[in-house]
Amino acid sequence: MTTETEDRPTELRVEHVWKEFGNGPAGAVLEDISFDVRKGELISIVGPSGCGKSTLLNILCDLTAPSRGQIVFASVRPRIGYVFQAPRLLPWRSVRRNVEFGLEQAKAARAEIHVRALEAVRLVQLEEHMDKYPHQLSGGMQQRVALARALILRPDVLLMDEPFAALDALTRGYLLEEVLNIVRHSGSTTLLVTHDIDEAMLMSDRVVVMSSRPARVKEIIDMPFTDCSSVDMLITDPEYPRLRAKIRDLLRPEVSDLIPDARPPLSAVDSERSLADSCPYPTGLTARSSRGVPR
């Protein structure tokens, strides 16, 4: 546990947070979640889909109350920016006015909101599109507007809930690098929820690996990739294969049916398929479609 962020002060502390929706064990979502986040640190939370990662972010920004436990912030009234999976822009507001929405809630003066909106829009390089409406922008641009809406707050804590998940692969790659660059320079403490292991490794100082529902913290792993600015750089790092394998092995038992990495090796699928193909009976076809591709 030696990283350069270790000696920084604590930004927030998640203390034994439990969350249950409804009664009984079926409603349990989060189980005794505890970890510290230091100022300016980039934390990724990885775990299987639907494990409760988003619920944790909702608790962090006070959208949902924890059933037990608490979140302790270093500052009295932390400024929290939230970027969702979908951009969630107001369709009747221009780019400028959407970005301003972030700060309007903080009761800032009109003139200041105006200046800082321009600043935030410049950060995400959309200054040419200030007066357009969301429907006139591509998905990637819309998500950048959503990021600017969070950045205008100069947030102490930036929460991102799978912000790249809805984008096409190309846009996603570029935006990932751009966002990494922005958050590294903004100094905001960042919590990124994702189920993409590469994204998590690139975007963080530490990766919190969660179990399937109800979610527990399985392990928190330090990432040495602070100098990497893209996935291409990341995958050439000598430490990359070992750490990726470690995270994958931690997740494998949790997600056997959710992420491609957890599927049986291709050779196993092939041998099963050829077996089904050689079967002379028509029922073999149904057997192949139900067994050949594991669900």
Partner: protein, 278 residues
């Protein structure tokens, strides 16, 4: 069919050319306006021809109606009656919006409000207008308020049903986003709920406008309170058919003016963020 065949034949040697059929080809605005005006003039001509066959008290011609119009204008009657009708209409529409917007949003958002008002909404929607007029005559009498009350009672449900639907169609992801940024309930109402209902508000206004025009004239006719409807009832008793035509066309003209001068520009402004259909 033959034209398509010959076109194909003429391009057989070159690359294949595909053209949109005539109906789908964009037409210049001038051509379309010319057609509309021409068709209108033909209609006017037919009316004029027919009026030469019948007596003036059965079917007055365009010149008779025009004379009625200039006479009414010069006596000041036209402006006075149009103003009376518009006053009824605007008062009713203003009341419909002032009542229907908040109540509609509350009904849309709270199930209990929906349950409690369901009966009265169904009642207002199904009671015949003539019954509303009769009841208003008993309770209020032959006054302007009577006309306005009947108009509001008829138009309110149509308007409110749209608002109710609109307030249920709100994107809850946006409300959650606003809450994550610390927005108050009031801010959420102003920045998300009200703008979300704008398309439904416009649809409601359009329907309410159609209904209120009809009902206002109808009530004026039966209650004798002044206004275009009242003038029509007087003129028909005197068999002054050309005046009836004149008032009828006045109502048509006002409806068009309202649509193109007030409603469409307002609609264009309020939905400027919406993707325009091709």
């Amino acid at each position: 069919m033959t034209s398509t065949r010959s076109r194909l034949a003429s391009t057989r040697r070159g690359a294949q050319v595909r053209r949109a059929p005539d109906g789908a080809r964009p037409q210049s605005r001038l051509v379309r306006v010319t057609r509309i005006v021409a068709a209108g003039l033909v209609l006017l001509g037919l009316w004029w021809l027919a009026s030469r066959v019948y007596a003036a008290y059965v079917l007055p011609g365009p010149p008779d109606v025009w004379n009625s119009f200039t006479a009414a204008v010069s006596r000041g009657l036209w402006a006075q009656e149009v103003a009376a009708t518009l006053a009824h209409l605007f008062a009713a529409i203003a009341l419909i919006i002032v009542i229907g917007l908040p109540v509609g949003i509350i009904i849309g958002r709270f199930v209990i409000a929906d349950d409690l008002t369901r009966g009265i909404l169904v009642l207002l929607q199904t009671v015949p207008t003539i019954v509303l007029i009769a009841v208003a005559l008993v309770f209020i009498g032959t006054t302007d308020s009577s006309v306005i009350a009947v108009t509001v009672a008829s138009g309110l449900t149509y308007f409110m049903l749209n608002i109710i639907q609109g307030s249920r169609a709100i994107d809850h992801a946006l409300i959650e986003m606003a809450k994550a940024y610390g927005a108050s309930e009031r801010t959420i109402m102003r920045t998300i709920i009200l703008p979300s209902t704008v398309p439904y508000f416009l649809a409601g206004c359009r329907i309410a406008l159609g209904v209120t025009w009809q009902v206002t004239l109808f009530s004026e006719y039966l209650m004798g309170t002044g206004g275009i409807g009242f003038q029509i009832s007087t003129d028909i008793k005197l068999l002054d058919t050309s005046d009836v035509f004149m008032w009828g066309l006045t109502a048509v003209l006002l409806t068009f003016l309202f649509e193109y001068v007030v409603f469409r520009p307002a609609e264009r402004y309020l939905t400027r963020h919406v993707k325009k259909a091709q």
